[in-house]
C-alpha cells in the first residue's frame, strides 16, 4: 500500500497531474487508493504507479560516468518530473560526489554532504558539466579574482533554472520548489566548495574530452 506522502509526491511528478487531482488525492486514505473501484481513484493510483515505475527503471538502467574525482554524470530523459528523485538517490549513495543527470535540455545536480542534500537545476547536461569543470579548474588554481569572475556566468545560469518558474499552485507548493523542503537550490560554485571525498592536496583535473557533446 502506498503511503499518502509517497502518493502525493509521485502524483505531483506526473506530467499530466493537475491541482484538481492533487486535491482529490489528498482526501484519500491509503486503503481507498489501494482498494477503490472508483475510476478517478484508479486513475490516480495508476498515475502514481507510472511515476514510481519510471523512477525504479531510471535508477536501475542509468549508467554513471566519472568526470574528475568529484562528479558522476549520466544521461536520463524522464517522461515525468523525477530528475531530482533520481539524482538525490545517487547523491545519498555516493556522499560527497556531485551527481549530474540530464539530457540535451535539462539537468539535475544533487550533492549529499555533511548530512544535507543540495540541489541544482540547470540547462542541458553538457553545459552544466562544462560549468562544473570550469569552476573546478578555477578552484584548483585557487585565484580569488579569477574565481569570482569565472563563476558569475555559472551563477546566473543556475539562478535562471528553467524549471523554477514554471509550476504554480498545489504541485509546486508540494514539491517545495524554489529552495525549500529537503533540497536547496544553490549555485554550482557553492555546491563544489562542499567537502568531497577527494584526497587531501590532490588537484582536481578534468579532461575536456570527457565532457559529452550535445
Amino acid at each position: 500500500m502506498m503511503r499518502t506522502g509517497e502518493l502525493l509526491r509521485h502524483l505531483a511528478a506526473h506530467r499530466n497531474s493537475t491541482d484538481r487531482l492533487m486535491a482529490r488525492a489528498r482526501t484519500l486514505s491509503p486503503e481507498e487508493v489501494e482498494a477503490s473501484t472508483d475510476p478517478e481513484v484508479l486513475r490516480i493510483r495508476r498515475m502514481a504507479l507510472a511515476v514510481r515505475g519510471e523512477v525504479c527503471r531510471m535508477r536501475g538502467f542509468i549508467r554513471l560516468r566519472p568526470l574528475g574525482e568529484r562528479v558522476l554524470w549520466g544521461r536520463i530523459s524522464p517522461h515525468h518530473d523525477v530528475g531530482f528523485e533520481i539524482s538525490d538517490f545517487f547523491a545519498r549513495r555516493f556522499p560527497g560526489k556531485l551527481i549530474v543527470l540530464g539530457d540535451g535540455r535539462r539537468s539535475w545536480t544533487s550533492l549529499y554532504s555533511e548530512g544535507a542534500l543540495h540541489r541544482q537545476i540547470g540547462d542541458g547536461l553538457s553545459s552544466t558539466l562544462a560549468d562544473i569543470s570550469r569552476i573546478m579548474d578555477l578552484l584548483a588554481e585557487g585565484s580569488e579574482e579569477e574565481k569570482g569572475d569565472g563563476v558569475t556566468g555559472a551563477d546566473e545560469k543556475a539562478e535562471k533554472g528553467r524549471d523554477g518558474g514554471e509550476r504554480t499552485g498545489e504541485r509546486a507548493a508540494f514539491r517545495g520548489e524554489g529552495g525549500g523542503r529537503d533540497g536547496e537550490i544553490r549555485p554550482l560554485e557553492r555546491l563544489l566548495s562542499k567537502p568531497g571525498r577527494a584526497p587531501e592536496g590532490r588537484r582536481e583535473t578534468v579532461q575536456r574530452s570527457d565532457i559529452p557533446a550535445g
Binding site: 486503503e31 482498494a35 473501484t37 538502467f61 566519472p66 574525482e69 549520466g74 545519498r92 555516493f94
Partner: protein, 397 residues
C-alpha cells in the same frame, strides 16, 4: 560482462593506469556461475558517510543472454575445483578448462568500478573449492572485508559458503555479507552420490547449513540464508525436491530455496544427459510460492503431484483448487485463506478485496478485475452477483 569490465578500467581515484583488467578471466569466472542463482534481497542498509546503500525489494538491472535479470556482479573467485560434480563446467575433469583466480584487491577494484557506474547493486561471490576450501573461503572473505571496511561499501553482498568451510569462516562471512548460502545441489545424499561422488551431503552441506542457523542467533544476517538445487540431473522426482524444501524451510529456517534446471554442457561428465525442461523449474517455483507465501499446507500441495511424484506442466494452483473447492465461493463472504486459494487471486488482491468489502458488496466481475483479479482464471471459482461465472468449463481443462 567482458564489455562491462572494459568500461570500468577506473577506480575510486580516477583512471587506473597499468591496472588493466584481465577480460578473459572476468568472462570465464562470470560464466562459471551459470548454475548459481540470485534474485532480490530484503536488506536495507544505509548510513551517513558510507559508500552505497542496498535497496529494499527486488534488484533489477540488466539481462543476460539467457534472459535472466542480473543486477549483481556474479562471479566465481576461482574456477579451480577438485570435485567432479557431473553437471558442473568447473569440475576438475572438465575438458579444456583453463584455471583463473582473482585476488582480493582485484575483485574489489572491479566491483567498485561497476558499482560506481550503477551497473550493479552488489556482489554475488561464489567459487570453486580451489586448492583448499578454507584457503579459498579466507580470500573471498578478505575481498568482502576490504569492500566493507577499506571502501565503506554498503551495497549488497551475497557470499557462497563453500562445502566443508570451517565454522569460524562461516561466522566471518556472515558478519560481512547480507546473505549467505550453501548449495544443496541434490535433494538427498543418495542423489548427491549420483551428482557428485566426492561431496558428503551430511557433513559438507547440511552441517554447514546448521552452522549458519546457529550463528544467525547472534549474528544478524539481513537477507538470510538461502540455497539452491540443480533440477533434473540426478533422476530425482519433484516430490523428493519438495520434501527437501520442507525440511529447509521448517527445520533450518531458510529464507529461499532456488532451483536451476539442468543443462548438459560440453566437456562435463553429464554432457550426454537430457536437458531438464525450463518449465520444470518454473513449476517448482510455483510450488515454493504456494508453500512459502500462500501458506498452503503440505497436504494440500500434494494434490499438485502426479502418481509418480512429478509436477505436470500446468498451473499447480489450479490443480489444487480443482481438488479442494466444492463449489464457487462468494468474494463477499470468503475469508482471506479462501480467497488466496482461488487461481487468479494472490495475497495482494485478496487483501484489496477485504478492504473493498468494508465499503459495500462486490457485485460485478468488473469491480473484481479493477482490484486485480485475473477474471478469466478466477471466474470458475467465484460466485459474483449471485451466480457463478463460466460454470460449464469449471472442472474442465
Amino acid at each position: 560482462m567482458a564489455r562491462l569490465a572494459t568500461e570500468s578500467c577506473f577506480d575510486s581515484v580516477g583512471p587506473a593506469p597499468g591496472r588493466a583488467i584481465d577480460l578473459a578471466k572476468v568472462e570465464a569466472l562470470g560464466r562459471g556461475t551459470k548454475y548459481d542463482l540470485c534474485t532480490s534481497s530484503a536488506a536495507k542498509r544505509q548510513g551517513e558517510d558510507a559508500l552505497g546503500s542496498a535497496l529494499r525489494g527486488g534488484l533489477c538491472h540488466s539481462f543476460t543472454g539467457s534472459g535472466r535479470c542480473v543486477s549483481l556482479f556474479k562471479t566465481l573467485y576461482t574456477n579451480a575445483c577438485p570435485h567432479d560434480c557431473g553437471y558442473c563446467p568447473n569440475a576438475s575433469i572438465s575438458a579444456g578448462k583453463k584455471i583463473f583466480s582473482y585476488d582480493p584487491e582485484e575483485l574489489v577494484r572491479i566491483t567498485l568500478a561497476l558499482y560506481r557506474e550503477n551497473r550493479i547493486e552488489g556482489l554475488f561471490l561464489s567459487s570453486g573449492i580451489g586448492r583448499d576450501e578454507n584457503e579459498t573461503m579466507e580470500e573471498m572473505i578478505e575481498a568482502v572485508r576490504l569492500l566493507r571496511s577499506a571502501h565503506h561499501f554498503r551495497g549488497y553482498v551475497h557470499l557462497k559458503i563453500l562445502p566443508g568451510s570451517s565454522k569460524e569462516h562461516v561466522r566471518e562471512a556472515m558478519e560481512l555479507a547480507d546473505r549467505v548460502s550453501v548449495n544443496l545441489e541434490a535433494p538427498s545424499s543418495a542423489r548427491m552420490a549420483e551428482l557428485c561422488p566426492s561431496k558428503e551431503y551430511e557433513r559438507d552441506i547440511l552441517a554447514r547449513q546448521r552452522y549458519i542457523q546457529d550463528i544467525s542467533r547472534y549474528v544478524a544476517l539481513p537477507a538470510g540464508q538461502t540455497t539452491q538445487m540443480v533440477v533434473g540431473a540426478a533422476g530425482e522426482t519433484d516430490r523428493e525436491i519438495f520434501d527437501r524444501l520442507l525440511l529447509e524451510y521448517d527445520v533450518l529456517n531458510l529464507k529461499r530455496v532456488y532451483f536451476s534446471a539442468f543443462t548438459p554442457l560440453a566437456g562435463t561428465a553429464f554432457e550426454d544427459r537430457e536437458k531438464a525442461p525450463a518449465w520444470r523449474e518454473h513449476r517448482l517455483y510455483q510450488i515454493d510460492w504456494l508453500y512459502r507465501i500462500y501458506k498452503l499446507d503440505e497436504g494440500e500441495i500434494t494434490a499438485a503431484f502426479d502418481d509418480s511424484g512429478y509436477l505436470p506442466d500446468g498451473d499447480p494452483k489450479v490443480a489444487i483448487a480443482r481438488a479442494s473447492f466444492e463449489e464457487p465461493i462468494d468474494p463477499n463472504g470468503a475469508s482471506f485463506a479462501e480467497l488466496i486459494r482461488v487461481p487468479g487471486i494472490g495475497p495482494k488482491t485478496a487483501r484489496r478485496i477485504l478492504l473493498c468489502r468494508k465499503n459495500g458488496r462486490i457485485e460485478r466481475m468488473r469491480d473484481l478485475a479493477a482490484l486485480g483479479v485475473a477474471a478469466r482464471r478466477a471466474g470458475p471459482f467465484l460466485k459474483v452477483g449471485g451466480k457463478a461465472a463460466a460454470t460449464l468449463d469449471r472442472w474442465g481443462v
